[in-house]
């Protein structure tokens, strides 16, 4: 391998794409648009929220009582009507005519009779809809108040005793390793993290695989290819192309990450300072804690700490590189055998099929990490990049990771050589034939 030549190819691929106005525009625009969407959604939600003053006509007297001191009806269970930002409750036994309660400043009337305890149904009267969110909150508050009323009426229990009787069972996983019980569970959380890595890899492979294919087709269309293969070995040329375009992907992802981070920090600052939305709080009396402490104290989040992050990150980088080299070479091979991008699109399905199969297997792996087929798919180079990332997150022996990656890299190297051979034959291809038959023909060593 002549690394000087490969470097020249890498540099060309990177420069011609990254230094283009369209790339800069797309790279700057995406974070701006995504932040714009979030801010827009929040502002929209804020503007959509209407303050509702609710008059509850508790005709049967189930949930309210007269407070002699104030002369007002108040809820029997004050805790059932927590303070809500956009809801303000008033109670009465008998509501006046609609025009009058509206004139008094109420926007919504809740009315029901005794039958509510049986059929669990009442009416919400309004001129302008309070919105789905407010309606849900009113229903929730009212249900809780009714529950409170029924507990008091039908049992000898008091409300706090009833609350204490309510059950919400949570099963915490405990694994067995080498005959010893160890902290377990959290498979789904860890698997989901691995799956996120897999899904992103799949996205990168499909998007940038397409870019590689287009780039090869373009060189053929430009008639540059014959000069290139006369100067550089096709394997070196393809390696330079794949690495160069990979560098473009990394540049774009890094730029997006940094710009999005800056953008969201700015947004967070504005949000916290109250310029946008309402200041976020951790809850009254809560003291801010650092993320690791918070994660360790939360049973669900603590599983994130169980992931071997050094292996996870290292494995992700390694399998991203291996998977990208392998699939990049395959996409380049397809580009070598076709005359147009449209023609190429029809040929990439067989290439992406194992990738998609791996993707769906990765989804299964989130729920059932110990399925035997996953182990086999982890060894198979066409599926190992997406599968192994989920397996690493779930916990797998280091030797398995290393061996699977070695197999992947070996296959990628062989595929690169094969793609180089096809690329060289592609120079001679006059377009009279194309497709998989032609590729197989070339693989057998026939140049035309």
């Amino acid at each position: 391998m002549n690394y000087g030549l490969i470097q020249a190819v890498v540099s060309r691929e990177w420069r011609t794409r990254v230094l283009k106005p369209s790339f800069l525009l797309a790279t700057l625009l995406l974070p701006v648009v995504s932040i714009g969407f979030v801010v827009g959604a929040i502002l929209l939600t804020e503007s959509a929220e209407v303050n509702s003053t609710v008059l509850v006509e508790d005709a049967p007297g189930l949930i309210s009582r007269l407070d002699r001191a104030s002369g007002q009806y108040v809820p029997r269970c004050p805790g059932c009507f927590p303070e809500r930002q956009n809801l303000n409750y008033h109670f009465t036994r008998e509501a006046p005519a609609d025009s009058i309660w509206q004139a008094e400043g109420h926007t919504v009337l809740v009315e029901y009779d005794d039958s509510i305890l049986q059929n669990q149904s009442g009416y919400l009267v309004y001129e302008k809809s309070p919105g789905a969110s407010a309606k849900r909150n009113i229903e929730r508050d009212l249900s809780r108040a009714m529950e409170h009323a029924r507990v008091l009426e039908s049992t000898e229990l008091n409300w706090s005793a009833y609350q204490a009787l309510k059950m919400d069972v949570n099963l915490v996983g405990r694994g067995i390793e080498k005959g010893q019980r160890v902290k377990g569970g959290g498979d789904e959380i860890r698997g989901s993290i691995g799956f996120l890595f897999s899904a992103l890899l799949l996205l990168v492979l499909v998007i940038y695989g397409g870019v590689i294919m287009r780039s090869v087709v373009e060189e053929k269309a430009n008639h540059v290819v014959e000069v290139l293969v006369a100067a550089v070995r096709p394997e070196e040329l393809l390696l330079g192309k794949v690495v160069g375009l990979g560098a473009v992907a990394v540049t774009q992802l890094l730029a997006w990450t940094i710009l999005s981070g800056l953008g969201f920090s700015a947004f967070q600052f504005l949000f916290d300072s109250g310029t946008i939305g309402q200041a976020a709080t951790l809850g009254s009396g809560e003291v801010p804690v650092d993320l690791l402490t918070l994660m360790a104290e939360n049973e669900g989040l603590s599983h994130l700490l169980d992931i071997q992050w050094s292996v996870m990150i290292g494995g992700a980088v390694a399998f991203y590189i291996g998977g990208y080299l392998l699939y990049g070479s395959l996409f380049a091979a397809v580009g070598s055998s076709v005359q147009s991008e449209q023609e190429g699109q029809g040929m990439i399905l067989p290439i992406t099929a194992p990738l998609m199969f791996g993707y769906f297997a990765a989804i299964m792996a989130v729920e059932n990490p110990d399925l035997p087929i996953l182990e086999w798919l982890g060894w198979f180079p066409l599926t190992s990049p997406v599968i192994m990332l989920v397996r690493i997150a779930g916990g797998v022996a280091l030797w398995e990771v290393v061996l699977s990656w070695a197999l992947l890299m070996l296959t990628a190297r062989l595929t690169l050589g094969l793609a180089g051979r096809l690329y060289r034959f592609g120079v001679l291809h006059d377009g009279s034939r194309s497709g998989w038959k032609l590729l197989v023909h070339w693989m057998q060593g026939h140049g035309k």
């Binding site: 011609t16 014959e226 006369a230 026939h446």
Partner: protein, 316 residues
């Protein structure tokens, strides 16, 4: 002197079709060698075999006396017939890129390119996008990319296609100048006038047909002609034919012009020199002009190819 390029018994088949069948010739240092042949004769396959794009089935390629290697082939300045430039790069950027692929460092590539840009008067195009320049200008840039690394061997496939006459002449001058400085040139083209202009001064033509065998067209034939003479004279047919006697055959004779001049084409017999014929004619008629007809490169090419094909048919 070691040939810059030496081909020996080069063979290549695609399936059952033999395309190169024992091609053997040398390209000496400083020579311009024309590679002629009809469509499908295998010229491109031959060039691609030299460049390592196609792997020959047999035979040997020596570059500068050394067996073929990737490094050796990289040193060749190759201008393929199917050529182009990246449309999304500036002229200067991609010229530097191609020079780097030929093994040059960026600073020396830039320096060499600046010189060539000035020589071919395209220095104002360095920062232009390829999509903004004309086809002829792009051809010039491609030519510069071919010669920028000062190759000892140039392989030019249809180098003048796309050029206007003025720029074609300039390229011819540059190629001749490079050859004079010791660069060997292998030229493949269908454009016979350009072959005449390039090859006349130095060298010979190789022509081969349908993978059979190479045909040599020695430069002596071009110098001496083929024994055909054109005669402009005043007088009648009888006197003219009588004067020729047994020295030459009369091919054709034209009508008398307003000024009483006639034009005849004669073919000298073996062992007879033009001076003998001229002496005999001037004794009986008034000779205005006596011209030795040299064959055009096109007629030589057609004759050579026809001969090879008739030989092949006869052998079959």
């Amino acid at each position: 002197m070691t040939p810059t390029l030496s081909l020996s018994q080069l063979q290549k088949s695609y399936g059952t079709q033999s395309v190169l069948d024992g091609v053997t010739f040398d390209v000496p240092p400083g020579s311009i060698v024309g590679l002629l042949g009809p469509n499908g004769a295998g010229k491109s396959t031959l060039i691609r075999s030299i460049m390592g794009i196609v792997e020959p089935d047999g035979g040997e390629v020596l570059i500068g006396g050394q067996p073929w290697s990737r490094e050796g082939a990289r040193g060749i300045g190759y201008l393929p017939e199917e050529r182009g430039l990246y449309r999304d790069m500036s002229v200067g950027q991609q010229a530097v890129y191609f020079a780097q692929l030929k093994g040059m460092k960026k600073p020396e590539a830039v320096a060499s390119l600046k010189t060539w840009f000035e020589r071919l008067e395209v220095q104002g195009w360095w920062d232009k996008k390829v999509s903004d320049i004309s086809k002829g200008m792009a051809q010039k840039i491609q030519f510069i990319c071919t010669v920028v690394h000062q190759p000892k061997l140039l392989i030019l496939d249809e180098p003048l296609s796309g050029f206007d006459p003025i720029n074609a002449r300039r390229i011819i001058e540059v190629v001749r100048s490079l050859a004079a400085d010791g660069t060997s040139v292998l030229l493949s083209t269908h454009d016979m006038p350009s072959v005449e202009r390039l090859v006349r001064s130095s060298g010979h033509v190789e022509s081969r047909s349908r993978g059979v065998c190479p045909v040599h067209l020695p430069s002596s034939e071009r110098q001496d002609g083929t024994g055909v003479q054109e005669v402009l004279f005043k007088g009648n047919d009888m006197s003219f034919t009588h004067a020729l006697g047994a020295l030459a055959n009369l091919d054709s004779i034209g009508p008398t012009s307003m000024s009483g001049v006639r034009k005849a084409s004669i073919r000298l017999r073996d062992g007879v020199g033009p001076a003998d014929v001229l002496r005999a004619l001037t004794q009986t008629i008034e000779v205005m002009e006596f011209i030795k007809v040299r064959p055009t490169m096109e007629s030589l090419f057609i004759d050579a190819v026809s001969n090879v094909e008739s030989e092949t048919t006869a052998e079959a």
